[in-house]
């Protein structure tokens, strides 16, 4: 049948996309395992001649990566946890409860989300230093929720609008309190969305650059992004350790991928497409 032959074209296209998408990732990992000499071979090797861990060791000992890693983990975990929790309850309130200015608040959330955070980094920096938070990661922990919460609230509002209210009604008739309704009925059902929102919030904080660059000047408080970009200053860039650092930075995402890629993709579709 003609249909059978035609399907091969699509497999071909798919293969092309896969190669282009994955090759850089492969190259990053490949480089991270090469020795210094092998990295700069005139004819690059597409498979390591010798498998070296030296880059991963150096990135911690020579370039002080450990602290940056710790800082990034702290910031991202704290902000993602608080933001997801608070956004879940806020979005629920906006969709289920009736109070004045409801619509305006949800419109405001979308608008705030759409405004690029890179517009306001200068006044934000001034405010943060005037308010008196020291030159440490707490500046970021205080600021990142303004970037992350609008997105989380918007995604959850979209979700709650499509969530059937029957079960909550039934529970209310049975005499349940609002708190019980939220945690015993709504929360379990929303869990996949909460998971993907948490992942997205975490990734946003993990890779945020300009605020971290502007607000943190003490080296020991740097996040991963800053630590890596600091390596890229001299003329001869140590690509081996740099790629090792990049690979470690990609680790959380990779791990989440192994276990829950459908959450990441699912959350994305929900936030952008309605219905």
């Amino acid at each position: 049948m003609l249909k059978n032959r035609k399907i091969y074209i699509w497999y071909l296209i798919l293969a092309f996309y896969l190669i282009v998408a994955l090759f850089p990732v492969y190259w990053m990992l490949l480089t991270s395992f090469k020795s210094f000499r092998e990295v700069y071979l005139p004819i690059p090797s597409f498979f390591p001649k010798s498998f070296e861990w030296i880059n991963y060791i150096n990135i911690f000992t020579k370039y002080g990566f450990g602290e940056a890693l710790k800082n990034s983990i702290l910031v991202s975990l704290i902000v993602a946890t608080i933001s997801t929790f608070v956004s879940f309850l806020s979005a629920y309130s906006i969709t289920r409860l009736r109070f004045p200015l409801r619509k305006q608040i949800s419109y405001g959330m979308i608008i705030t989300y759409l405004i690029p955070s890179t517009i306001l980094f200068i006044p934000m920096y001034i405010i943060v230093s005037k308010v008196g938070i020291g030159d440490n990661i707490w500046r970021l922990i205080a600021i990142y929720p303004t970037i992350v919460i609008p997105y989380a609230v918007w995604v959850m509002i979209s979700y709650f609008q499509t969530l059937q209210i029957d079960m909550e009604e039934a529970a209310r008739v049975d005499g349940a309190t609002r708190w019980q309704i939220i945690w015993k009925i709504v929360f379990p059902v929303t869990l996949p969305i909460i998971a993907s929102t948490f992942i997205f919030c975490f990734t946003l904080c993990w890779s945020e650059y300009i605020y971290a660059l502007v607000m943190i000047n003490t080296k020991s408080q740097h996040t991963l992004v800053l630590a890596l970009s600091n390596i890229v200053v001299a003329d001869i860039i140590p690509w081996g350790p740099l790629m090792a650092g990049a690979a470690i930075s990609a680790l959380p995402v990779m791990m989440i991928y192994l276990f829950a890629s459908k959450y990441i993709i699912g959350g994305l579709s929900l936030g952008s497409v309605k219905g």
Binding site: L89, L97, L120
Partner: protein, 306 residues
């Protein structure tokens, strides 16, 4: 819709506030709203005020000079270059991302074996942290030891290694390439979701009427995904205008200011040249465009809701 009994059950859709609900609002929603809108609001106001000054540093506000900062921007050649490149950057990335994303969505929509694995794998460029991708590609584009040059020479496209990040045109192409590489999965997955919501009945009816595959693509598929495509493009455009990490980590806005976008130029003005008023003015100068884009996207967000 379930059949409701004749007994009157009070609709819970918008429940009247009882004490518990009021607490929920008071202790969670209102603080959040105050925090988010308050911080952003103060930021905007403060930024607007500071942009009307000169000689402002972190230590203190400078002299009030009215709109001079903005007026001077129009004469500033680097600013003009920034506007130009931002335009090139947005258009040069959105169109390929759209086309390649559409093709990707169409491919994933076909009955191929191992669908889910492919979807996850193809999504990886978008999921990776931006700085990881930027640094990896910078390495790949490197003129010493970079694999892009090696592959191009092997295939015969070029005769000697070229400095991808060293000249104006090439640096722009490189940055655009990485942006496209990162962004295609976002378009692809979103369009795929829209494709999958098109009812099969439409295609079957068209086939019965004798339509070719190309015709049903043009008259059924494309119109059905139109609003999603527009929304995704607008949102992507907004993000691209506000991009910082990718540009900064690959070229720092160079060479010779060729790849500056608003955030990178404003960063240099405010923190290297210590001209905070001008830096903020650069950022705020795109607010009119943002208003247009955001209004458009609001329209499409709420139209596709119906």
């Amino acid at each position: 819709m379930s059949v409701t009994p004749k007994i009157k059950v009070r609709k819970l859709k918008h429940s009247l506030l009882n004490k518990e609900d009021r607490n929920l609002l008071l202790f969670i929603l209102i603080p959040v709203v105050i925090y988010i809108f308050g911080v952003q609001g103060i930021n905007f106001l403060w930024a607007a005020i500071l942009s009307l000054t000169s000689e402002t540093t972190i230590r203190g506000i400078g002299d009030f000079i009215g709109f001079k900062n903005y007026i001077n921007l129009f004469k500033d050649s680097i600013y003009q270059e920034t506007m130009l490149f931002t335009l090139i950057y947005v258009i040069g990335t959105i169109i390929p991302k759209l086309l390649l994303g559409l093709l990707m969505a169409l491919t994933l929509n076909k009955p191929l074996k191992g669908q889910n694995i492919y979807r996850s794998l193809l999504f990886l460029p978008w999921a990776l942290p931006t700085f990881t991708s930027a640094l990896t590609w910078r390495w790949m584009f490197s003129d010493i030891g970079g694999v892009v040059n090696y592959l191009l020479m092997k295939v015969g496209f070029i005769d000697y290694p070229i400095g991808w990040l060293g000249t104006i045109t090439l640096a722009r192409i490189s940055v655009i390439t990485v942006n496209i590489w990162r962004g295609v999965p976002f378009f692809g997955i979103t369009i795929l979701a829209a494709l999958q919501s098109i009812s099969n009945n439409l295609y079957e009816a068209a086939e019965i009427d004798g339509a070719t595959e190309w015709k049903s693509f043009w008259y059924i598929t494309l119109p059905s995904i139109k609003s999603v495509v527009i929304l995704v493009s607008i949102v992507s455009a907004i993000w691209t205008i506000g991009d910082f990490s990718l540009i900064w980590l690959m070229t720092r806005g160079g060479p010779i200011n060729a790849t500056h976008v608003f955030s990178t130029y404003s960063y240099i003005e405010a923190f290297h040249n210590l001209n905070i008023g001008k830096g903020i003015a650069i950022n705020l100068s795109i607010v009119p465009f943002l208003i247009v884009f955001i209004t458009l996207s609001m329209r499409y967000i709420f139209s596709s809701e119906n």
